[in-house]
Amino acid sequence: MNSEMDENLSIFISEGNELLEDMESALLDLESNPNDSESMNRVFRAAHTIKGNAGLFGYDQIIDFTHIMESLLVEVRNGIVPITSDLVSLFMRSKDIITSMMDSLVGSGEVDQNDLDEATKLLEHYLADPHAAALAANPCDEDGSATQVETPTGIFTINLKLGTETFRQGFSIKAIFRELNELGVITSANLFMPDIPKLDEIDPESCHLSWLLLLESSCQKQAIADIFEFMDDCEFHILSPESKTEEYKKIISLLPNGEAVIGQILVTSGALTEKELQTALDRQKETGSRTGDILVEQGDVQPEVLESAIAKQQQTRAASSQSIEFLRVNASKLDTLINLVGELVINGERVSGLTENIDDDKLAEAVTEMNETLEEMRETALGLRIVPIDGVFKRFNRTVRDTSNELGKQINFEISGGETELDKTVAEKITDPLTHLIRNAIDHGIEKPSERELNNKPPEGHVALSAYHETGSIVIKVSDDGKGLNKEKISNKAIERGLIKQNDKLSDSEIYNLIFEPGFSTAEQVSNISGRGVGMDVVKRNIESLRGNINVESEEGIGTNVIIQLPLTLAIIDGFLICTENEDFVIPLDMVVECLRLTKEQTKEMEKHNYINLRGEVLPLIDLKKHFCLPKTLENEPETKNVIVVQHSGKKTGLLVDSLHGEVQTVIKPLGKIFQNLKGFSGFTILGSGNVSMIIDVSSLITDASEKQRDSFMNQPHGQNSNETISSESAEI
């Protein structure tokens, strides 16, 4: 029972957070484009859904607060309250309050009561005084149609049935007709008394009159409906002129994809009045017919208008099914599934191997078919964890907005490559480092507007966040056009902090990368934004924990680029199987450039130095046998040696192995904590034979190998020839 509650709560929270994120991004869109009714609808939907969900679980605080917010949103949506930057900020603040309310449900953090009270008051203020605010209103939605003055004259068909109380309530029939005559010309009128009681039964004070009127007018349907507004028990249907059909159809087609209810679409377009809709809905409850059918039957809308509204509804549904219809799955279940699929792929390969020598066409066919299906399954399973980075990127709109407001800087924030896909886990873990980098760019990179103008730069700073794929990894770039890094300042600081020595000769890139050293901060004034203890070293550590790397490029006065390279860390990768001293190893295939068989001459060269001449280039070599200190298992060295050429960070390195076994599909599995300090491996995999094989992490292998070579070079300062110096340097990548 309790755990069920917990599960519900966690679903509520995770869904709520998603909605709030969407709300935030929609609010930002709205701020830059107040007429974007689709964004408006997204904000509204989010608030509405959160309120509904909170209602299911009885979280009163959230219900009450979102209710006020929702009420105001309705006013905004109807164009009564104009969208201003202040209003968006208020909604942002409200969003944060809801977030803290949800956090407090799981015991992390508390709701700031003062903040809540103040925000509630502000929301209520807007609600209470919409008209003052409406002066500056920028009408959208249904007002949009109302403002279209030049509408053609047409004939409205009005089916008016007065309520029985009409006389007693003191309504003057004469006055009603006078008002109708003011709107247009009644071209035809027929009185009906279909249900008038007999004289001996009639209550002469009750009204039983109905008219079918034709009114020629250029007015809006609502204007006619307004005449009957206060006649509570009066029923009327106004069919707009044929001439309006096209107009309504056009308005409907232009409506944003937000409203999925036919009635609302029609009301928004002006083809239907609220009251007509209400009557139809009441009737729908009684009869169970479709609202649309009732509306046509009652003579409220033309069938064509209804059709276009239905088309709109379907369009909306299709659009919303794209964005909302997700299935929430426990991540660990997903991981288990992916693991199982991985196992299946392995077993599939194993079966293929076992049946290879059996001469049975049908068996072979079945196995081939099975493996094709498995391959497809593998692709699908892989895709389950893959998400576009867009979700992460969008959050930074808020970061940029808040940071720039706080610092009084104008920022033009640009996002590109949001569609680039990566593993969800990586996406989640990259958020914090990126937040820091972006804040840093705005705080330390971008200058104050006045300073920028002095340097002939536009006052608005430019910060860009981009992502793209590059051979098996994802590259994320944070760029700004700020003042760039000051080499001298960095060097001085580094010397001061004892990170480098006075006379150390460092390349530009080495200097820039000093900013990632622990305890390094160039900000002279520790601001609220960055420099709150989490420095660039934390960023670097985070990136490295994802097996990625980070680099910085900068030009003083021009700007700074921070480039992050991350592995896609897919559960399943294509690998290349190699063997040395009877031990199998897997190298990720996307790292492999080519395979070489060493000629005797090259072997000799290799034995002398740690490199070979590859088509005129120096190819540093790592002998895996030596590097991994593998015990000798073969009595005789194999006749030929193989080199597998891998590329990392644009540089090529050869790995010397005994034999090559070709491509395999492998499931990367973590090695576990006890091997956490093991360098050169990213995990292990289980081969088709059922044996375990280590997966080589090329980048850490190369780093490790070059360190080893440097150490051995340092330990043996004598007897080094120049060739070896070259080789060790070229292995340092």
Partner: protein, 175 residues
């Protein structure tokens, strides 16, 4: 890699008074581990070497899709290496690590039996004169006039010990 069924072993004294132990041989000595710490016993399968790890790490094996590190107890206890025979087994044990339970394999020469060891048969570990590191010994038990070493498996396989991996790696740089 079929599991060896415990029933095949020679089980005696299945009284429920004392704790139950699995008795096994490494080199010349008999050792015991409480059965509650044992997940299963599997036939020997050749572990995949993990380069640059201490000698007592035989490597890793595939246990239903997961990698289980295997510790060579003879090596760990600095005893003579025995040849791999039909009776060589890997005991899959659960170890309480610093954070959570971990699964480790112990390479042993022979599994003897599962039996009770009555509390009165258990004696404190000797401070001196044992053939292996006393930190690995939890208690001694005297059964049929023979001494059995009850291992403190947590200590034997403790993560701290295994994280010597790091040290070994650094050592290997000097090679």
């Amino acid at each position: 890699m079929s599991e060896i069924e415990i029933e095949q072993l020679d089980i005696d004294d299945l009284t429920l008074t004392g704790e139950q132990y699995l008795l096994f041989n490494v080199a010349a000595d008999t050792y015991a581990i409480p059965v509650t710490q044992i997940r299963e016993i599997i036939e020997y399968t050749e572990p995949t070497q993990v380069p640059m790890t201490p000698d007592f790490v035989s490597g890793i094996i595939n246990l239903r899709g997961g990698a289980v590190p295997v510790i060579n107890l003879a090596c760990k206890f600095e005893q003579d290496q025995q040849e791999i025979t039909k009776r060589t087994c890997i005991i899959i044990a659960e170890v309480d690590g610093s954070e959570n339970k971990r699964i480790l394999g112990c390479l042993v020469d022979k599994v003897q039996q599962v039996r009770d060891i009555p509390e009165e048969a258990i004696e404190p570990a000797p401070k001196l004169g044992s053939t292996i590191d006393t930190r690995f010994i939890k208690n001694m038990a005297k059964i049929n006039e023979r001494f059995i070493i009850i291992l403190d498996i947590n200590n034997v396989l403790s993560l701290e010990e295994l994280e010597i991996v790091e040290m070994m790696q650094e050592n290997s740089l000097d090679v």
